[in-house]
Amino acid sequence: MDISLIMFYVLGGLTALSALFVAFTKNIIYAAFALIMCLFFLAGVYIFLGADFIAIVQILVYVGGILVLLLFGVMLTNRLKGEKLVSATRSRFFGILLIAAVFLVLIKGVISANFVESEWMQQEMTAKAGLKGFGLNLMTEYVLAFELIGLLLLIALIGSVYIAGNRKEGLDAH
């Protein structure tokens, strides 16, 4: 068992542990930071899968962007008076029942699909850290989707600024 496989398992286990921590902690700030840890370790797992660029994007977008957004959201939507920010839980029993059912179904599906035995899985993991191939693919075959996703992001960000911004009452009429 070589060192990279051990690191891979450690990163995967840390991802699962931080996801469980997010699910079962009460404090919202702890949950936000544990989410970021989870996504960070997940980026490490992506590197082992030959997806270097996606790992970098994951760190940039989630750790750089979404964490800040989430923390701003927490600050703007809670009266901060020094006490802990606790999120109450409702219908915990049905929640656990539901996720136990979904968990069992998904695990059973994964086991019965039996990907390990399938033919295309026997070949080597061929996805090299091919940034060149990835970029060429993105700018030739998927260029329409790429441009559209940029447009979508622009519209969504302008729209969210418009929604959240404070508007003067007099300017709001027209």
Binding site: L5, Y9, G12, T15, A16, A19, L20, V22, A23, I28, A31, A32, L35, C38, L39, L42, F48, L49, G50, A51, F53, I54, V57, Q58, V61, Y62, G65, I66, L70, F72, G73, L76, T77, N78, S87, A88, T89, S91, G95, I99, V102, F103, L106, V110, F115, V116, M121, Q123, M125, A127, G130, G133, F134, G150, L152, L153, A156, S160, I163, A164
Partner: protein, 100 residues
């Protein structure tokens, strides 16, 4: 890399996200749960993309999902801020009026 481990990891992430969305009262926590579920989907796409020699379709699709997730988080948090200003609460069980 062992594929079943990665698929189980995706299942765990998805179930954690689903539990948060179903069982938490705070709106921000629900958004966190949605992010976790999106990342479970991303992990599965990248796992299968690793066995896709030339095309890297899963990675391309994951890039699009990350972008849409960022847009969704921005719009969702803007809506949450506005809803908080109206209802003075970010608790989902307080936000039950359709037209106030």
């Amino acid at each position: 890399m062992p594929i079943n481990f990665l698929l189980f990891l995706g299942v765990i992430l998805f179930c954690c996200g689903l539990y948060i969305v179903v069982a938490r009262k705070n709106v921000i926590m629900v958004l966190i749960g949605i992010e976790l579920m999106l990342n479970a989907a991303n992990l599965n796409l990248i796992t299968f993309s690793a066995f896709d020699s030339g095309e890297l379709q899963g990675q391309v699709f994951t890039l699009f999902i990350i972008t849409v997730a960022a847009a969704e988080a921005a719009v969702g948090l803007a809506l949450v801020v506005k809803v908080y200003q109206y209802f003075k609460s970010s608790d989902l069980s307080d936000i039950s009026d359709l037209k106030g």
